[in-house]
Symmetry: C2
Subunit: 381 residues, 2 copies
């Protein structure tokens, strides 16, 4: 466990290693030697009731906020989490784990399979959204927290929040579901499937045994990322940022990089290859395809008996999980007579708006969290 | 040259082989031994003034209508072209060539380079929209036609029509531009770029020499096609056709094909690999990226002095070349005081709507062509 205290915030980098209790997954498969890497920001108060749990998205990790010493890349939600920010680390103790199935310190398909001594590869069991929640709950128990002030997530993170609400609503006081979906469309699944095909058809994938062969399906993962990245932006945001601008000087017809947007995509792919694993991409993306919690009519019974305030946010320019997805979640929750607050934000960055510093969005999140337990933020008193 | 006369229509399959006149491209490069494969439907009248020229899209070919003996696949625009159809082969003589740079009989990057005796590969010169038009005009001259009744095309085909209008408006009496663009957006270019990256990063591509090595970048071309195909449909059309339906029985979590939409995409890729060449995909798609005819302020001078009726059509659900692209073309043409008719059609099939039998769309095309030279269609008299 390492810890820093910067001028801005206190952060801790740690892991839960639990070899005593095998985890039984929704599939029936068991995982032993579970390791969950997580970071925390801020301080847990004496009542242990100021914790906010952050669920990350497909390409996220535990590093949600701040910069570690010697690093310049801030956490992926640094605009949202920190002192005086909407998720205010002066008030809240913020927990963010790397997902089960991930590749940034938590057990995943590139971990060593204790049965073989080799990386799991495709022998890693398929995961379900409820498996993420089960692991999150272990971490919360491990940290000695009985009730969370809030659970918050965007995209795949928001889907975890929804599953958690259904599985164990009494774990939390409030919940925030941002730019998420309770049921991917055929188009969503199609984009997801093409990304996985690019990875799995890459010769470097070697049926998932690439780690043992000291190779990797870099082409496939790069293509998957570039394509997905287009779906995370909006036509407007790409247009405003790049238009038809050349990368250098004038356009000079060629098959190489010539338009600035081409260079940008290549850069996105390169950065991603440095920090992400193709197997994790397969496992985490596939969980989203199968997620369909309201298909089970009994899934909502616990939540119906333990209502709590829920904020749902979507962004008008998001065409990956458009506002229609969020409105569907809202409708389902309202059918349970839950106090749902819904904000449809004019964020022009497409799906990635959820990561951006958009004033009405941040205001909505801050206001929603502001009144927890009478512990008001000054600005909203 | 082969010819059939079916119950429905007369069609001819032929080629123009012109080794006497090298073609100088916009790039300055020269192509010798030009071969253009084309089909025709219907009969050229004695006045030779009833010809309609069809320009095909990225993945199209010369086989626009009807079925050849022993084949079951009708031409790609069979809903539009035929006896009694909007482009009525009982009245019109319809010409459709395979594009220069294509792979269905016309000279392209997989043709033999006379200088080396090997396929051109990436030594084939880069093409521009005006090169397509120059070749189309050669074919029209070869057929002894002085003036076309109309030039018609969708998507990349519509872009050729626009370029032809600018380069030689006196060649035609009317023009129809469908689901096209005069200027790709950053998002358009981004999708196009990722498809090409998938092809060029495939080990099977071998820097474009794959034909000599008796291999092919099948993975790359399949991924490019699957991704592009998603952009040709709409979220609604994929949803109506597939939703979250399983391909067989119930959904059974796995990485293989499970959802019906996944099976559909795989099928699209397989069919495409059988009929398309990766190098042609690179060359034809890249022409679209660079197409920006109105960037040259002098480009419109000929058209301004030779105004003619133009029909522009777009489809509300088309998000690849949305109605905004067509409206921009309309505005540019109206600035020249041209008689432009614009139809924005409620076709729910996305970009591919232009290939579909949508009544108001077909009515608009038929009506626009109906009054040429007083040669009215009965239905519209």
């Amino acid at each position: 466990m390492s810890s820093i205290r910067s001028e801005q915030m206190q952060a801790t980098d740690a892991q839960l290693a639990d070899s005593a209790h095998p985890l039984t997954l929704a599939s029936g498969d068991k995982l032993i030697d579970l390791i969950i890497h997580y970071e925390t920001y801020g301080r847990l108060n004496d009542r242990r009731d100021n914790a906010i749990f952050i669920c990350h998205a497909l390409s996220g990790d535990a590093h949600a906020a701040g910069c570690w010493p010697g690093e310049t890349r801030p956490g992926w939600w640094d605009s949202m989490i920190g002192p005086g920010k909407p998720i205010d680390t002066d008030r809240f103790y913020v927990i963010c784990p790397n997902l089960l199935g991930g590749c940034q310190g938590s057990t995943g398909p590139s971990s060593i399979n204790p049965k073989t001594g080799h990386p799991f590869g495709l022998d890693f069991p398929l995961l379900a959204m409820s498996d993420f929640v089960a692991v999150h709950r272990r971490l919360v128990a491990f940290l000695g927290i009985e009730s969370l002030a809030a659970v918050v997530g965007g995209s795949l993170g928001g889907m975890q929040v929804l599953q958690w609400l259904l599985d164990a609503p009494t774990d939390m006081t409030k919940a925030i579901i941002i730019a998420a979906s309770s049921r991917l469309t055929a188009q969503n699944i199609a984009f997801s499937a093409v990304g996985r095909e690019a990875i799995m058809r890459d010769q470097g994938f070697a049926d998932g045994h690439y780690l043992e062969l000291d190779q990797s399906p870099d082409t496939g993962l790069a293509i998957a990322r570039m394509m997905a990245h287009i779906t995370y932006t909006s036509e407007g945001s790409l247009g405003r940022k790049f238009g038809r601008d050349p990368q250098h000087g004038d356009l000079t017809p060629q098959f190489g990089v010539d338009f600035a947007v081409e260079s940008y995509l290549q850069h996105q792919a390169e950065v991603f290859l440095d920090r992400f694993d193709a197997l994790s991409y397969l496992y985490l993306s596939r969980v989203m395809d199968y997620f369909d919690p309201f298909a089970n009519s009994e899934a909502t019974s616990q939540l119906a008996s333990h209502p709590l305030p829920i904020l749902v946010c979507s962004f008008t320019s998001d065409w990956r999980f458009s506002p229609l997805h969020s409105r569907r979640i809202v409708a389902k929750l309202e059918q349970l007579e839950l106090p749902v607050s819904y904000r449809e934000i004019d964020g022009g960055f497409g799906h990635d708006s959820f990561l951006m510093d958009i004033a009405p969005y941040h205001l909505a999140v801050a206001a929603f969290l502001g009144h927890i337990d009478g512990n008001h933020r000054g600005a909203f008193q």
